[in-house]
């Protein structure tokens, strides 16, 4: 034995250059291969690279992965203080902001949207003391004649970033800073120069509404005075930029309790409701609390040194959709890959056993997979989430996000492996009768060795590559179930593409189409690229197809 080993080592020491092909005849029929030998893997990679579609798929996947990793890191919204926004920037004032990539691009991706405003709405939106104009460009006026009255509708582009004025709480330092800044830039608010300053005078509408407006309405004999008064207060509350006197629109013989129009003086100007102190100066800050009325855009820029710009728009919380999409994409990708891995391992073991042993074991195991695959994921998912959210012990142990992830794991793993098991079983049926298995068994190999050392490696190529196609399946299932609200991410802090779709759905496709369209776009690209990539991979690693495409 020792001797034999010596000979082998001895022989292996001979350098390759000493070998030459044997010459027995005059004519040499065998010639040495001049080309480099190509292994199975190298051949597969080469055939994969030849398939343009799958390379495109691969590149798309790489881009999406990079996107989901890099965007949250380099997001311009990281600029805003982390201590003020621990779970990412958001500002409800900017909840309506549409996607904005360019400035003033005539309506294309510039944060403006088309809107039709009624006469009264239009007047209210135009007459503000805010700095940025709400209406962009010249409105198209459509006149409808109904009876003797003419109703005007203004079809116009509006700037969703013109959020008007808002009342914010402010500390002395900030207030003094802003005043000093305004003084240095010479933009202090005056009645003649109202569209430049950051600070706006406070408004007192309560006196007007409860006093003048009420008396006027009562003298005019309106029927629903209390209601109108309430609605007027409500109106001022919701339209912070309305700094002037309003009066309900005439409706038939009475007055509307929902529509208000500005009251104009003799010079056709609005009558302001600014708070004035004893010496008739405008009051910018209330003495009782720290409330200050500001032009929100200017204030924001002063506070953070930079204005907001949502490239994909903002959601209804005022969060950046682009950053959230990247986070959602990351979660969906991780979920897809993680669940596919788990399913692959379970399916492999199950399929190997059922395929290798066959007979009764196979019959029973097949029945079990029949039963498991007979119950749709949606049912297990809904059962899990109802059961878990009501389980207080589990909730306190795992937290809201833990519960959701656990429910998803159970629902997606419980029947996700059935496909892999079926494929593995087929491969085992194919290989277990082959001669090399018989040879190994004759030499005394145990079942476990036959399964894991002999058959599985042969089947692995086909199985692994076909599993890539399971990833888009998981992503699709997750996004549809989240869209339907069966997977409920709300309040868990997890962002997935499905959760974003659900958010867009709640916001309404009609008013906020971008909240649905951008997540849809990302999920579509994900699905397309994984399908391209997976199909290409499957074909490339399938040796039986070799040469058939050429």
């Amino acid at each position: 034995m020792n001797n034999e080993k010596d000979i082998y080592t001895e022989k292996s020491k001979i350098p390759a250059s000493e070998f030459e092909l044997v010459h027995n005849d005059e004519n040499l029929h065998d010639t040495k291969f001049e080309t480099r030998p190509v292994g199975w893997f190298e051949d597969s990679v080469r055939r994969f690279a030849k398939n343009k579609a799958s390379v495109v798929g691969f590149i798309l996947i790489a881009i999406l992965t990079l996107f989901s990793v890099i965007v949250p890191i380099i997001s311009p919204f990281n600029y805003y203080s982390k201590s003020e926004f621990p779970d990412g920037f958001r500002d409800v004032h900017y909840r309506d902001c549409a996607p904005k990539l360019f400035d003033n691009a005539g309506g294309f991706w510039d944060g403006t949207v088309q809107k039709s405003l009624g006469e009264v709405d239009y007047q209210v939106k135009v007459n503000t003391d805010a700095n940025s104009p709400y209406v962009v460009g010249k409105p198209k006026v459509i006149e409808d004649v109904i009876g003797s009255k003419i109703y005007k509708t203004y079809v116009t582009r509006i700037d969703t970033y013109a959020v008007g004025t808002a009342v914010v709480e402010m500390y002395d330092d900030m207030f003094n800073d802003i005043q000093a800044y305004e003084a240095s830039k010479n933009i202090t608010f005056t009645l003649d120069n109202m569209h430049k300053s950051i600070l706006k005078p406070l408004i007192d509408y309560k006196d007007y509404v409860d006093g003048e407006l009420k008396t006027k309405l009562e003298t005019a004999g309106a029927a629903n005075v209390t209601n109108i008064i309430d609605q007027a207060k409500n109106f001022y509350e919701h339209n912070g930029s309305v700094y002037y006197k309003i009066f309900p629109t005439k409706k038939g013989n009475g007055y509307s309790d929902t529509q208000f129009e500005p009251v104009l003086d003799a010079n056709n100007k609005v009558i302001d409701l600014y708070v004035k102190d004893a010496s008739e100066n405008l009051v910018f800050r209330s003495t009782e609390d720290r409330n200050v009325r500001v032009d929100y855009n200017a204030y924001f820029k002063f506070k953070y040194g930079k204005s907001v710009r949502y490239v994909f728009g903002a959601n209804l919380e005022g969060r950046d959709l682009l950053t959230r999409l990247a986070e959602g994409g990351r979660f969906s990708l991780l979920l897809g890959i993680g669940i596919t891995l788990i399913n692959f391992i379970i399916g492999l073991i199950w399929g190997a056993i059922s395929g290798y042993y066959g007979g009764t074991a196979d019959l029973i195991m097949e029945r079990v997979t029949d039963i498991i695959s007979g119950i749709p994921t949606i049912i297990i998912m809904s059962l899990c989430s109802i059961q878990f959210t009501n389980n207080i012990a589990l909730k306190s142990a795992l937290g809201k996000s833990g519960i959701v992830v656990l429910a998803i794991l159970i629902a997606f793993v419980y029947n996700g492996w059935v496909g892999v098991a079926g494929r593995t079983r087929m491969q085992f049926y194919r290989f277990k009768g082959q001669e090399y298995v018989l040879a190994s068994r004759t030499l005394g190999a145990k079942d476990r060795r036959l399964i894991f050392k002999h058959i599985l490696p042969n089947a692995a190529g086909t199985l692994v590559t076909s599993c890539v196609l399971m990833i888009p399946g998981v992503i699709f299932a997750e996004s549809s179930l989240s869209y339907l609200g069966i997977i409920d991410f709300r309040g868990s802090g997890i962002v997935s593409i499905g959760a974003l779709l659900d958010e867009g759905n709640q916001a309404g496709i009609k008013s906020y189409p971008y909240l649905l369209l951008f997540p849809s776009l990302v999920v579509s690209i994900l699905m397309v690229s994984y399908n391209l990539f997976g199909n290409g991979l499957r074909d490339a690693f399938n040796t039986t197809l070799r040469g058939s495409e050429d």
Partner: protein, 347 residues
């Protein structure tokens, strides 16, 4: 050779197996659903006392020491099986109670089966319209692509089909709904309720409002059928018997239609047959997007409102449709193609 007795025996065997599978699934689902925490006080327009009384009569609760308490699930199960054969009776009024329980949230007082049947028309209509559109177009496109294999038409259509297969159906639905429905006002963006559409499922207004869901369901199916047909047909077109058909004097068109197309239908026909059955179960997501008041919507509603009896009934209905669909596909493979011996052993 195929023989009728063998076939019938095979079908019977499969049916029994299916019944067994269904029973096991039913036991699992029943247990899981009964394990759910049910909040009886949240009943719509019914006071908990009445519900509990009804539950006692239906064998789910018992009244001991002046208190209602749940029966063990195993007992509930046997009571349920019993009531399937002998419907429970209301002890006070003598009315026959429902075998399948009652809806307490979606439509208080109606039974799950009534609810399900009332939701069939829109679902079935939309599915049938979608099939009528997608099967001929899909097969036609597939045939066209196979005949033009590797030409630019084929390549172009292949890319389109790949996109439509990969892109989730709800994305198609959003795009169609947003652009054709809300932006350009070509079609109704959501399916009208019956009352708004003139009270008939076949009124023009109803049809118009169903176009978008039908379209968004068809796009994926067309792509699926086309891809399958193309794959099958290209394989058949290169077989030897096609050469023989041409040699014996058939024209290309004759050979393609009579020999190639028919043979390529062998695996496609069972696919269509399976789909015929599934017209009964609606696509949950499409129905939710277009607010179709259909079967899929009912399942979703039952989940969201925790209407357990309806949930159980509709879920079992979906499972049954899935099982029967699989069975029909398997059996029809054998019926369509005599070469496939159903349930054949090794020999």
């Amino acid at each position: 050779m195929r023989n009728v007795k063998d076939t019938l025996q095979y079908i019977l065997k499969r049916l029994l197996l299916m019944a067994f599978t269904f029973l096991v699934i039913f036991v699992i689902c029943f247990t899981l659903i009964r394990l759910l925490p049910i909040d009886l006080s949240a009943g719509l327009g019914k006071d908990p006392e009445t519900i509990k009384k009804q539950y006692v009569m239906m064998g789910r609760m018992r009244f001991v020491n002046g208190q209602y308490e749940w029966l063990p699930i195993i007992e509930q199960f046997f009571n349920f099986i019993k009531t399937l054969f002998v419907p429970p009776k209301d002890i006070e009024t003598g009315h026959v109670l429902s075998r399948f329980g009652y809806s307490y949230q979606i439509a208080a007082g109606s039974t799950p089966d009534q609810l399900l049947f009332s939701r069939f028309p829109p679902t079935v209509l939309i599915n049938i319209y979608s099939m009528i559109i997608s099967v001929p177009i899909g097969l036609g496109l597939g045939t066209f692509m196979a005949l033009r294999k590797n030409k630019w038409e084929d390549n172009f259509l292949s890319v389109l089909i790949m996109i439509f297969i990969s892109v989730p159906s709800f994305v198609d639905a959003f795009l169609l709904q947003y652009f054709l429905g809300y932006q350009w006002h070509v079609f109704e963006p959501v399916v009208l309720p019956l009352a708004d559409a003139g009270g008939s499922w076949f009124s023009p207004a109803m049809f118009n409002s169903m176009i978008l869901p039908v379209l968004s369901m068809s796009l994926g199916s067309i792509a699926g059928y086309a891809r399958y047909t193309r794959a099958e047909l290209t394989e058949v077109l290169t077989s030897d018997f096609m050469l023989l058909a041409r040699t014996k004097g058939l024209t290309r068109a004759q050979a393609t239609v009579r020999h190639a197309f028919r043979n390529s239908l062998v695996p496609i026909f069972p696919m269509i047959l399976g789909e015929v059955l599934s017209v009964l179960s609606g696509s949950i997501i499409i129905e939710s997007i277009f607010t179709v008041n259909g079967v899929g919507g009912l399942l979703l509603q039952a989940i969201n409102t925790r209407d357990v009896d309806v949930y159980q009934f509709v879920a079992m209905f979906y499972i049954l449709i899935g099982l029967v669909g699989g069975l029909v596909v398997d059996i029809s493979y054998g019926l369509v193609d005599p070469r496939i011996r159903m349930g054949g052993g090794k020999q």
